[in-house]
Amino acid sequence: MATTFTIRVAHPDAREVRCAVEAAFAELDWLETQLSRFVEGSDVWRINRLRQGETAVVSLPTFRCLDQALQVQRQTAGAFDITYASTPGSNPARRLGLTPTGCKVQKLAEGVQIDLGGIGKGFALDCMASVLHEWDMTSARLSASTSTHLALDAPPNQRGWPVGFGPEPQRVALRREALAASGVGVKGQHIVDPRSRQPAHHLRAWARAPRGALADALSTAFLVMTHSERERYCRHWHVEGAIQDAPTRNHHPG
């Protein structure tokens, strides 16, 4: 994922925290071997090399990540699409078939390529948070770079974990929810609208949602969705979004 992950835990026993955090990072290492399209033999590597009609059995985390990604794809009518790099021509909604029993992934069209870059970091944070829960580390903030944050319970005597949100930026206290940002301001134009193949409409987008994977994926989708599409989505699915347009700094709460 080529990203710095950070975990902050509020807990009285530093050694216990160290072991729990190491376990969470071990989970991250494991996920990297499954979700990266660059790691030889990873689940994503194998899926990308299937031919049309072939099926791969993947690990449960990979299957869950794909399932969540396809859900967001449906909910955003294709504004978020992990198959955006596929050979054009096939129907984006009919590129992958998922069978829960056995965690099977079938490639439904030739030339389908998947890239979990828009959801993988958030998904990894969700999985790492599960590990912390197993260790009874309930008050923590997990971050992937500065772009995706997942908060568990608030630190003692705090409303939440402070994180900047939106173009102003507005400081929010994050608690049992995630916040993610995507943009083309720092890395340059690297996001295209999967529906039109046109560059992203906005300079930056933020999403605030119950899970890391969802926030991560939505921040990418919001970058290419119109204001009305985003506002409709946020109302329907009870999430929060914000946009910064270039070159004027317009804030449009979702």
Binding site: T4, E22, A26, L28, G41, E54, C103, W135
Partner: protein, 438 residues
């Protein structure tokens, strides 16, 4: 706390299988499923279970782990894959109550490999056992003897034996092309940071009386068993057996002597060596070759884990991680264009270089000519690997169990590397040159 994760990449496009036939998952799925048991479902057990599920053609009927936290989790995980596995704490009970098993995968701490493997072989089962075989030569030999006596298959988990990349280097680059000509030196390094102890969720702790029954003083010792000499020959052995085996197969020989030094001081609470450097001497047909072997547990830097073969015409650096694998041509060597055309090598796209210095050389008739100063040229290995390294090795094991082909790493192949590495530990302790096969 922060950590940077690195994505390793292979820039090479997909190539043909060259001399290396590949098995596909479809082959396995067409076959009658094999009934398997797994002993040890910790971190490595999880890797192997996922590898088996991805290969298909197996029914995992039983999982065994002394830690209920692990065995329960594995049983639940397998249900997602329609695999109704029974969970056990004791392998003896697993063998008794699951009579239809055909093979067992052993992924437990090193010191119980031998006991469990021998018991499974004696019960008429084929065994895939993680490497290293055992912390002592007697225990490793007992495994080999049991396989020989029972006629059952024992695959030792040197997964590089089944890796298409390593097979390509051995069969195509070294044996077929003689690419680097005479190999005159070799080295291995395994840099893997192992700074922190492994813990456990407090509510999942086992009672000390139960732990002692399995040979551990407490949870700390159980979770960090590789630090303790009575459970393991340590990180050096765990890494070096793989790499010495790579050198053995590439050189077609086994080392004769070893000189080694190591420290235990960096981690005062660990019994096994944290840093080791060993020099193995290989007798080749017309010369001897020195190979250095370094294992560090305090850093993951500087090219991670790899093996380097140095020859008169070039060098080959091999690794499970493709980012560390490369081939270097000596300036004086014959051009390798033929091997690029044959897809044995990949030549990186030409870079714009600064104007070369010039020097004098002699042409074929002895005339002095001005030529560019030679530079070592770097090539890549073709991308041949499409599964995880363990999948290839498991696939080879399952195929052999089905009666198709032979094992890539039976014990007689592994024993020389196990012997060499355990002798290196003796050399460290004795602080003297040790003969490996006395």
């Amino acid at each position: 706390m922060q950590r940077r994760t690195f994505v390793s990449g292979s820039l090479a496009a997909g190539f043909g299988s060259l001399l290396l036939p590949e098995k596909t998952a479809a082959n396995a799925e067409d076959a009658t499923p094999l009934n398997l048991g797994i002993i040890g479902v910790g971190l490595q057990g999880r890797v192997l279970i996922n590898g088996l599920l991805a290969l298909g053609g197996v029914r995992i009927r039983a999982v065994c782990d002394m830690w209920p936290y692990r065995s329960t989790g594995a049983v639940d995980y397998l249900k997602v894959f329609d695999q109704e596995a029974a969970g056990f704490a004791e392998y003896q009970e697993m063998l008794e109550k699951t009579p239809d098993l055909q093979a067992v995968v052993v992924a437990t701490p090193d010191f119980v490999h031998s006991e469990q493997t021998v018991a499974c072989l004696n019960a008429g089962l084929h065994v895939y056992c993680e490497a290293p075989m055992a912390p002592t030569l007697d225990a490793a030999q007992a495994m080999a003897d049991a396989a020989s006596k029972t006629g059952k298959l024992l695959q030792v988990g040197y997964q590089r034996r089944s890796s298409p990349r390593y097979q390509h280097v051995e069969k195509n680059l070294i044996q077929d092309a003689h690419l680097i000509q005479d190999i005159t030196a070799a080295s291995t390094q395994w840099n893997q940071s192992d700074l922190w102890e492994l813990g456990w969720p407090r509510r999942q702790a086992m009672a000390e009386a139960d732990l002692q029954r399995y040979g551990y003083a407490n949870m700390h010792e159980f979770r960090n068993w590789r630090w303790f000499r009575r459970h393991s020959a340590g990180p050096f052995a765990a890494a070096a057996v793989h790499q010495i085996d790579v050198l053995n197969r590439m050189l077609g020989a086994s080392p004769r002597t070893v000189l080694a030094g190591g420290t235990t001081g960096f981690f005062p609470d660990r019994e096994c060596h944290d840093h080791v450097t060993a020099i193995f001497e290989y007798p080749l047909d017309d010369r001897t070759l020195q190979a250095t072997c370094q294992v560090l547990t305090t850093t993951s830097g500087t090219a991670g884990n790899h093996e380097l073969l140095v020859g008169t015409a070039g060098s080959i650096r091999i690794s499970e991680n493709p980012r560390w694998a490369a081939v270097f041509r000596e300036p004086s060597a014959e051009p390798w264009d033929e091997w690029v055309r044959n897809e044995y090598l990949v030549k990186p796209a030409a870079k714009v270089e600064p104007p070369p210095e010039t020097g004098e050389s002699l042409d074929r008739v002895g005339q002095a000519v001005a030529v560019e100063t030679g530079q070592v040229q770097q090539y890549q290995l073709p991308a041949l690997t499409h599964q995880s390294p363990f999948q290839y090795h498991l696939a080879n094991f399952l195929e052999a169990v089905r009666g198709h082909g032979s094992l890539n790493c039976p014990p007689e192949i592994a024993i020389p590397a196990e012997t060499a590495v355990l002798r290196a530990i003796e050399a460290m302790q004795a602080k003297k040159l040790v003969s490996i096969f006395e």
